[in-house]
Assembly symmetry: C3
Homo-oligomer: 457 residues x 3
């Protein structure tokens, strides 16, 4: 069988894109982010469709449409929202707030409006962030009919007592919820789920970066023949994952591991939020990779707020899905403002996020449980050229240590990930040792792989 | 059903007495301590009866009498001790040690004596604390016939070579062991046990404070209709709890939680000693309350010395009973000396001990296990007015977080206390969230409540 | 029954040798080390036989001979190696490297050679430690035909471009692998295994110290009637323990506890490496003893490199065998060099190693599980003279605490070692308390002793 990683398994955090240039993947991801940035996305509507069309240039995903009014668990697929134009004009006819300048200016899902209003009435529909007076906030009102504009607090303070023309040329009517799905069949039916939200308008880190990462992981997997099947979801946040889970409930039993991707382009360190189970294989694989790379990182326990892991980890599903981020939502000052722009997203951060995600998938792919075929005492490694022929030296070799660890713990009850954790050696070294032992007939894959699983508390 | 706590559950560490004055409860407790202080109590005799009569003015407890000679497990109810007068006179006829001045002066359970003795012989019956030369120690000899006097070491050093008249007008004869019991029937037969020792003579913190706390908790519970039944024991230390356990062995299966109360009036921080099980619900409820209040506190593991938890936690019972104290026995310098007087006990400390105990009972009362009735994905809280209608804001609200936690963990396997622990939110917030979810039909009490129980190791 | 420890169990780290002199045991051990030091040992050959003969003067062990070519699991017993003479001569005929001066000079298991070689060719057969330029390293080539000399790096640097006569008068031919075994039958068939390697030439700490410790432990046990049977193995490293395990596979089920002894004579603190199980009774007994003594110590988790615990803890056996050392292999600068000489080994360290090992065996011997025969409430200890008759004192006595702990936890599920761990009292105190309680009919040995066992993960 073939692995999704490079042929040198000790090198599994280095990623080589098709053209062989490691750093290029970040630049390619950034280009996709640039292409998607101008579009006014929401949880439904043409912005989502347009975005999925752009993604399709890179990845042959399937676009699904679910009609408004469809019951999905406790929710109903909402009406479809589309918008063409929106502004506030002062008495001179000057557009002082204009959707054309930034799609953040409109309260997302605003109902249509065309009225002349006093400043006082207008203010009830204006949203600002006083603590960040230069920035336009991003605000939504998906599930309550409302209209509004978002603007910088500094501009807000300049508004004069006067009358204003407000105009929002939007529509909210029966239509569809649209999402993208890409499935790559692997050797087995067991699935790895990669999910990312696609509902945010012109915000780069949250979450065009996540979209780009998912696209390029899928593209890269396409060049391999992975053991697992992989399912990529590009859905509007919350309502999209609820829709998918509702339509694919039976399917979820196949999901063995999963990651939600979000905010992966900023310059912060990697942050991982564990699945509700807390020690699912995905949680341990992520931590192993982050530890192995040596770079700073942070790991949080699960909590039921954040991104779509909220749905995947709801008690009725409790799927082993964690959330892979750089700086988490709400923790970078640009979060949900006009400052989350193309400047915030760095190609080297995108490359690093890609490399680490790839290394995580690599651990999942390679993590198997073996039987030591010579379990009584050590086998004679020296005879097989696997062990130093000169005895008595002070320092053994890491490769020898790794082989001894694999032999010692391969009793059918410890996966390679277990062994890496217990030995405190990097996963690639452990995996490499296992490969050499397999080649020499000393190790056999456990017939019934007893992958470490914990169904949480 | 009605709860013992105030109607505002987020306010469960504030206690309101009948007259509505929070601080008054400490003053009322202190008044009871004043009334009880002068009496010479012991493990049997009229001092205990007199004390229980005073308590009866506040609480309609039942007084039980168990005859001397009754076999109670490995013990036998001892003879009843009573004392009227005791002194040591010098040759001039002056009473140099006088029971009338302090009932600590007599070795508790002294046999009667009337003799003229040399200083040398007298000294074999004198007890002092050289390290605290001004204080009269409290000493007992319940189970070995002996007589003696306790006095300050400074006075001891002034005793001249001479002859002394010693006189103890006590009696030690068949009679009864006396204890008080108060039972409040709740909705269920499951019981909470509150036990306190009543055998110490004029010592205020140890343990008139514990008696006062038990009395006022019982009075306060009387004004509510609690879920649990509550049993309050006012027994002589060791022999009293052994007697009760011996006479009520079958009964003990109903005890789901328990607290021994002692030394709750000094100005030290709260100290909790866990039950033998170590993570019984009572242990976790106490720690949750102490954590929620934000004030300093200390928690110790169980050890088989201390107060009556020694008996409740003996291996043949292993009841989930911890010990709630301020400064523990032996750790405050006034312990078991004449300095453990009415000055040591502070009304604000008594109030605080009451408030925290009440909050603990409140957690026990409210701690239930629920099922999320919409366990697949989150239910749509916004539709029900339970969630902010404007999306995209950086900071969620604690109430929303609490509801999401309750929904996420209410799988029939996590109690509200489990959820408070895991979410790191205060119990009252979690409970309040559960109430709101119940009101909106999103949560149901688990039919067979699976309260977290650990039967220890 | 009789215990291997001295009659005063609270004194179980003090050891008295036959002549009653505690310190003498270290001197006696050192004398044995002196006697063994000059011999050129290897994994086979006359050096091992000669060494076992010297040990036999102290301990009536049995010498076993296993023929070359015998299949032992994945290995084959190698040819027997013997050596008489070896040197390198320069052109002047001077022996510049001479086996007679140090048996470390010859690469252990060198094949015979008699040749004139250039400096360049010679250098391919020379072994030095550049970082320790004064020392001769110890090197071996057991499983690959090779010849070589070890010398100080300083001498190596002085070698001139020239021709050299090399001569090794060794033989490598069918013969035997030789090892020693000493078995002491105890009350039960359950065994404690003590294993030590005997294959190193003139190296004192590694591992003549381990040999001496094993010999004197065995001698000392001979003076007692232990509960366990004891098996002492004196085997060549790796191949010897593999041979023994192969020949005695069925036997291994009897091994309940085991220690590998190595490097126990240097002046470093005690280091213990846990068994693969990690919390076997031997692991906990060692840690308890080290904690009780109050001296600094270090405990490491198991890893599959080190001494013969590698074989005993291979997954097919997974025996509860840890490794008892002072400074571990590779961690003292003299390790595997000519500086590991008789100066490195200190009699007081040997005495201390002996005392602590003895205390460990003592804990194993005494660690039983009991039932409190009066489990409901405390029994009345005072009546039996086991408890202070004067009550009210601030400080209890350690003996009383120990009895209360033993009573509280003796529910048939906690061994004395469990109780010592949980109470934080020294094992001897707990054991002594148990003895007193047995004497007073308050404790009974659990019929089916449920010794805490963990079969690891």
């Amino acid at each position: 069988m073939s692995h999704p990683a490079s042929s040198n398994p000790s090198d599994n955090t280095k990623v080589v894109t098709r053209n062989g240039d490691t750093s290029a993947v970040g630049e390619e991801m950034l280009q996709l982010i640039h292409d998607l940035f101008p579009i006014c996305r929401s949880i439904t509507g043409s912005g989502v469709r347009e975005s999925l069309e752009i993604i399709k240039r890179h990845l042959a995903l399937e676009v699904r449409e679910v009609p408004s009014g469809t019951r999905i668990f406790d929710w109903i697929v909402p009406k479809e929202w589309n918008i063409r134009e929106a502004y506030v004009k002062d008495l001179t006819g000057r557009k002082i707030i204009d959707f054309q300048k930034s799609n953040l200016h409109v309260l997302n899902y605003s109902i249509p409006v065309c009225a002349k209003v006093s400043l006082k009435d207008l203010k009830e529909h204006l949203y600002t962030v006083p603590e960040q007076p230069d920035l336009i906030p991003y605000r939504t009102s998906y599930y309550k009919d409302n209209w509004g504009f978002c603007l910088s607090h500094n501009q807000f303070l300049t508004l004069q007592e006067s009358e204003y023309d407000v105009f929002i040329d939007s529509s909210l009517q029966d239509g569809h919820l649209t999402y993208g799905e890409y499935f790559l069949k692997g050797e087995t039916d067991s699935e790895v789920l990669i999910s990312t939200h696609i509902c945010h308008p012109s915000l780069a880190n949250d979450n065009l970066s996540g979209i780009a990462l998912a696209v390029f992981l899928a593209r890269h997997l396409n060049q391999h023949s992975p053991r697992y099947s992989y399912r990529f979801l590009f859905t509007p946040g919350t309502i999209g994952s609820i829709t998918w889970l509702s339509l694919n409930e039976a399917q979820t039993a196949r999901i063995k591991h999963g990651l939600v991707l979000a905010c992966v382009g900023d310059s912060g360190k990697i942050t991982y939020k564990k699945s509700r189970r807390g020690d699912a294989e995905i949680d341990r694989a992520v931590i192993q990779v982050l530890k192995d790379t040596g770079a700073p990182y942070e790991v949080f326990d699960f909590s039921p707020y954040g991104y779509d892991e909220r749905q995947f980890c709801s008690p009725g599903f409790n799927l082993p899905v964690g959330c892979f981020m750089r700086t988490p939502h709400g923790k970078f000052p640009e979060y949900h403002t006009s400052a989350d722009d193309l400047e915030l997203v760095r190609p080297e951060s995108l490359t690093d996020s890609f490399a680490k995600c790839w290394a995580i998938l690599d651990v999942l792919e390679r993590n198997k449980t073996y039987f030591n075929l010579s379990p009584k005492c050590e086998p004679q490694l020296g005879r097989r050229g696997l062990y130093s022929q000169i005895g008595g030296q002070k320092d053994g070799k890491l490769q020898e240590f790794a082989m001894l660890w694999v032999l010692n713990l391969s009793d059918g009850k410890h996966s390679l990930l277990d062994i890496a954790e217990r030995s405190n050696l990097v996963f690639a070294l452990i995996h490499n040792a296992a490969q050499r032992l397999i080649e020499h007939g000393l190790l056999n894959e456990a017939a019934e792989p007893t992958r470490t699983e914990d169904f949480g508390a």
